[in-house]
């Protein structure tokens, strides 16, 4: 079994026991299984890749094959305690619309994404003059699933425009947390906990 990514560890640590959770882009269900086993959570997953859905279902997890942009509209308002969108925001066609759905169907929403303004990314573009290829963003510009690169400050501006409440924010450099002050420059990865 693959272990949790650092952003998933933060999310798992902040989900309340016994909560009802929707994990969007759940893959083969690593985070879901953690939440079931350590939090006694009631977790539903959504995943677009059928092979990953089958792998998660074969583990006995509840996963529905679906597309965040098309299929979230079918869930009633506030039907989950938490909705999780981990490492998926930057890969959907309209992140802003997905964010609207997250805070509609979840009382709270965890959103995590790689920060495109991390100093290593900036340096790579500045010095190399090419689209950055880094540890967290390993794909070339033409085959990356990350079609909307976003920075911590971009995301903060979006949630401000939407009038969303921040219940938590965590920033990661590698496996360790970094301060929020210079996060836009120093964080490789950001996790936000939001409310509508």
């Amino acid at each position: 079994m693959t272990s949790l990514r650092p952003d998933q560890k933060i999310i798992a640590a902040h989900v309340a026991d016994g909560a009802r959770v929707l994990d969007i882009g759940c893959g083969s269900g690593v985070l879901m299984q953690e939440l079931v086993e350590t939090r006694g959570a009631d977790v539903l997953g959504m995943e677009i890749n059928p092979a990953k859905v089958a792998a998660a279902m074969a583990r006995g997890l509840s996963v529905a094959q679906g597309d965040a942009l098309k299929d979230l509209v079918h869930y009633p308002d506030q039907s989950f305690d938490y909705v999780i969108l981990s490492q998926t925001l930057q890969a959907v066609k309209r992140p802003d619309l997905v964010l609207d759905e997250l805070v509609r169907i979840g009382r709270q929403a965890f959103v995590s994404f790689p920060n495109f303004a991390h100093w290593r990314v900036r340096l790579s573009l500045l010095m190399g003059g090419r689209m950055p290829v880094t540890r967290l963003l390993p794909e070339q510009w033409y085959d990356t699933p990350n079609i909307h690169h976003v920075t911590v400050d971009d995301f903060r501006a979006l949630i401000r425009d939407k009038g969303l409440v921040q219940d938590g924010q965590w920033f990661l450099s590698g496996d360790t947390q970094t301060g929020r002050g210079a996060a836009n420059l120093m964080a490789e990865h950001a996790v936000f906990l939001l409310r509508g």
Binding site: M57, G60, L61, S62, V63, A64, Q65
Partner: protein, 373 residues
């Protein structure tokens, strides 16, 4: 503990079976097969529901054709539906012709076969009869109910009709209601049967009467096309000729696909009753779980404690993926625990009966609810 593996046995229901049409049926017999041991708590039973022309011979050889059970890939010791763990029951549906009461059965009032005096039945009636069978067997709650195609309609109906008697429901290559296209194909089949002069208004059971085999064979041929896919047919048959080098400029089965369909039709009539085909296709056409809820399918499952697993196949055009998605959306709107995946297969609707490693792993995991992960 009960005996394991009884390939077919029969129960006469102790009370009349109330039907959706308003009538009730007296002296209903239900034929069923069972595999694996029922445990002392009687909580390891899995009901498998068969499709239109299926029967209780899910994991044992068919007495007429001699062929292996229709789902031996899925059901047996160590198989995804593991008879070392579960007590598997499969009952011949009401209206069929492999031992359960249907139009060919003797009406207790007239002493003659029902024929077209048999009442029109529904999927819900089939499920009600199965519930009465379980009452007889002393099984209060099923660990799971599993079915593909019409079997999936029954599994879904089980969850809607008896939510407290079902732990989990797996619905494969199925739908919550018959579409206009589904009804259209069935109507072609029924008209083929009724256009056969041997049908005689359904009264063909007497000595010296021939069954409407030609009509039933045509019905089967038309239906069989809907179970396959265009790509699958092209791959398997293409335009290849059957045992000849050139076209005959006649109406023999020049093409392999013609020969194959004729073969399917001829084999089918040996094991199936034409009137049963009329009644069961009618039951499927009448199926619409949302009908009683003002078209709101979610209301059929409000507050349901049942866990659901839905599987569709990408080349199934009889019950396409959109039908499973409709069910999924309703279940999620109702707050139900429901999984769904569309699997890839070149084999169309028939894919659920064929080898598919992903389907097998999913069903095994779903039934175990992650116990072995």
């Amino acid at each position: 503990m009960q005996n394991a593996d009884r390939h077919s046995q029969s129960v006469k229901l102790g009370s009349p079976l109330p039907l959706d049409c308003g009538k009730q049926l007296e002296g209903v017999e239900i034929a069923y097969a069972s595999h694996g041991m029922l445990n002392a708590d009687k909580d390891n039973a899995i009901l498998i529901c068969h499709a239109l022309t299926g029967d209780q011979y899910v994991a044992s050889d068919h007495p007429v054709t001699g062929k292996p059970g229709w789902w031996v890939r899925m059901v047996g010791p160590g198989k995804p539906i593991d008879t070392d763990r579960y007590h598997v029951i499969c009952a011949n549906v009401l209206g069929s012709c492999m031992g359960s009461t249907g139009p060919a059965s003797i009406c207790p009032v007239t002493g003659k076969p029902y024929a077209m005096d048999f009442p029109v039945i529904t999927i819900a009636d089939m499920v009600r009869a199965q519930a009465m069978l379980l009452d007889h067997l002393g099984i209060e709650k099923l660990h799971a109910v599993v079915g593909g195609s019409m079997g999936g309609m029954q599994a879904l109906s089980w969850a809607a009709q008896y939510p407290m008697r079902v732990g989990a429901a797996a619905i494969i290559a199925s739908t919550s209601r018959h579409s206009a296209q589904n009804i259209a194909f069935h109507e072609v089949g029924r008209q083929a049967i009724m256009a056969d002069p041997s049908w005689q208004g359904g009264e063909y059971y007497g000595d010296g009467s021939a069954a409407p085999s030609a009509g039933l064979a045509v019905a089967r041929m038309a239906a069989h096309i809907t179970y396959l896919s265009e790509a699958g047919l092209t791959e398997k048959f293409g335009r290849r000729l059957q045992d000849r080098d050139t076209k005959t400029f006649g109406f023999d089965a020049d093409f392999q696909i013609e020969s194959y369909l004729r073969h399917q039709g001829i084999n089918f009539v040996e094991r199936f009753d034409a009137n049963s085909y009329l009644y069961i296709t009618r039951a499927m056409d009448y199926f619409d779980l949302s009908e009683a809820h003002g078209g709101m399918l979610a209301k059929a499952f409000a507050g349901t404690p049942v866990r659901f697993c839905l599987i569709s196949f990408n080349t199934d055009w009889l019950y396409p993926t959109a039908e499973s998605r409709t069910i999924l959306q309703a279940l999620h709107a109702a707050g139900a625990d429901a999984s769904f995946v569309e699997l890839e297969s070149p084999f169309g609707h028939d894919a659920f009966l064929l080898e598919n490693a992903e389907m097998e792993a999913i069903i095994r995991g779903f039934l175990g609810n992650g116990e072995e992960r």
